[in-house]
Amino acid sequence: MAYLEIENVNVSYGDVQVVNDLSLTVNEGEVVSIIGGNGAGKTTLLKTISGLLTASSGTIKFKGEEIQNRPPEVIVERGLVHVPEGRRLFSLMTVADNLDIGAYNTRAYGQRNHTILGVYDLFPRLAERREQLAMTLSGGEQQMVAIGRGMMALPGLLMLDEPSLGLAPILVLSIFETLRKIADMGTTVLLVEQDVNHSLRLSDRGYVLEHGRVALEGPAKELMDNPHIKEAYLGM
């Protein structure tokens, strides 16, 4: 049984349909990338999975239970956590407080003092800056806080929306390395990215989204050799 199973999901904003009859699966322990250009429906899909948007039809199953159209707090409680695009930190709170809010759900709250040590292990930089206000951090450090905040919720499946957005190439590399570490420690990762090269290299499988539909899918290595992807996304 797939860990996350999405079947024939449709999502629209008013009259504009953004996600068309989309199906995908994520197995436990995998890293899966969803790639595609602007407006392909990647962010909409993630928001629908995490309950911030509602699907007009279709089913979303997480650990075998249907979660479509449930409120986000119920979905987080089950272990599906979404790190939204653009970091979205609570800028006037310290790094430690930002992380603490990640452990809001009842499952994670009691263990937060233990979990935070794990997050500081992943990002030693954050341990140094724990008392600093989030707004005073660099872009890369802010992204670390955003990912760490997601980890504080003790996710079974961590969904990340463009963690490389607006970061210097060297930082992108280190963020992706950390994601690999997170996956190796047993968290399943669903990654939405425009940085096709890096994200496929780190992933087990990938889906290519075009106009709200799955245009291509397969093991990440095969996708990287696919001539269409080379031409359209890698510029080769």
Binding site: E73, V81, M93, I101
Partner: protein, 335 residues
């Protein structure tokens, strides 16, 4: 002296001055001005729970002042229930109405929520102006309600001198400041702040932002209504236009914006800056140009927003930090 000692000493001095002030001031007029200053600081602190911590901009809070005043006064006039009990009843009614308004509107952002609260407040004012009897309750339409004199009586919440009112509102202000301080440092305060700044990020972590905003709204409306009863007992007369009008709603928001939204001291600093200005422009200028004090308010608001968009509390606390450091680190030593 350590930093903590300095903070504590200043707090004690401030409290001693506040509690001793009526001994120094003979004129009931000046005492009344200070009572109203505390009244506004109290209202703004209560407003701050929603307007500051939850990150929305309610512009119709006068309605809840009105609900408090009407509830306790109707209960006193018709059923002879002590205004102290009526005060709590008014708070409960206001909290319930606040939740009813908040449920559909708190999802809105920015100007939309502000406009909705204005529309609701004005709608309710027009209704009350046109209702003489609401079921068995006599509201007396635009003429308002007059509370008959009972002489000095704690049970009837009436005093012949200003001092008791002064101490009541001072204690209410201290309690509401302690309450907002407690909330700002509690989990609720953090979740409210998180939901106010980045609702989507907070929701995607499972924080039920809507419920926390609703809770803040209920607490804020409850506390606001308590001040309504106080106002009714202080003035012993009120009418819809004076109590429920937009003037009061806007002044609360002005004080918060100028003092500093979402800070504990902001409402007090804002009231200290604006209330005397309001009173004195009204005393000295209102003969020549009625309404001039509102123009001056507007100008000050524009200047503060241009140069200190976070309100006056931010630069003042920076100055205090520097002074405190100079005092607490003995001369010459580098920190």
């Amino acid at each position: 002296m350590t930093r903590k000692q300095l903070d504590r000493t200043l707090l004690c001095v401030g409290a001693a001055v506040a509690f001793g002030l009526p001994q120094l001031i003979d004129s009931p007029t000046y005492l009344q001005i200070i009572i109203l200053l505390f009244f506004y600081a109290y209202l703004t602190s209560a407003w701050n729970l929603v307007g500051g911590f939850a990150g929305v901009l309610p512009m119709g809070h006068a309605v809840f002042v009105g609900i408090g005043a009407y509830t306790s006064t109707v209960l006193f006039l018709q059923y002879n229930i002590s205004p102290w009990i009526g005060m709590l009843a008014g708070g409960v009614v206001a909290a319930a109405i606040g939740v009813i308004i908040g449920k559909p509107t708190l999802k809105m952002r920015g100007a939309y929520f502000a406009l909705c609260t204005i529309a609701f407040a004005e709608g309710l004012r027009v209704m009350i102006e046109n209702i003489d009897m609401l079921g068995p309750f006599k509201l007396n339409g635009p003429r308002g309600l007059l509370i008959p004199l009972k002489g000095d009586s704690l049970a009837a919440f009436q005093f012949m001198h200003k001092e008791p009112y002064y101490y009541i509102i001072l204690i209410m202000l201290c309690l509401v400041l302690a309450f907002t301080w407690f909330i700002s440092r509690s989990k609720i305060g953090y979740y409210l702040g998180a939901g106010g700044e980045e609702p989507e990020a907070a929701e995607s972590l499972g924080v039920n932002v809507a419920n926390y905003k609703l809770l803040a709204m209920a607490m804020s409306c409850f506390l606001t209504a308590l001040a309504g009863t106080f106002y009714a007992q202080l003035m012993l007369y009120f009418y819809p236009k004076g109590l429920l009008g937009l003037d009061l709603s806007f002044e609360i928001a002005f004080i918060a914006l100028i003092g500093g939204r979402g800070t504990i001291a902001g409402p007090v600093i804002g009231a200290l800056a604006l209330r005397p200005l309001n009173e004195f422009t009204r005393i000295y200028l209102s003969d020549q140009l009625p309404g001039l004090h509102l123009v001056i308010f507007g100008l000050i608001l524009i200047l503060v927003m241009l140069f200190q968009p976070k309100g006056l509390t931010a630069p003042l606390s920076r100055i205090y930090e520097r002074l405190a450091q100079a005092i607490t680190t003995p001369g010459g030593e580098k920190s």
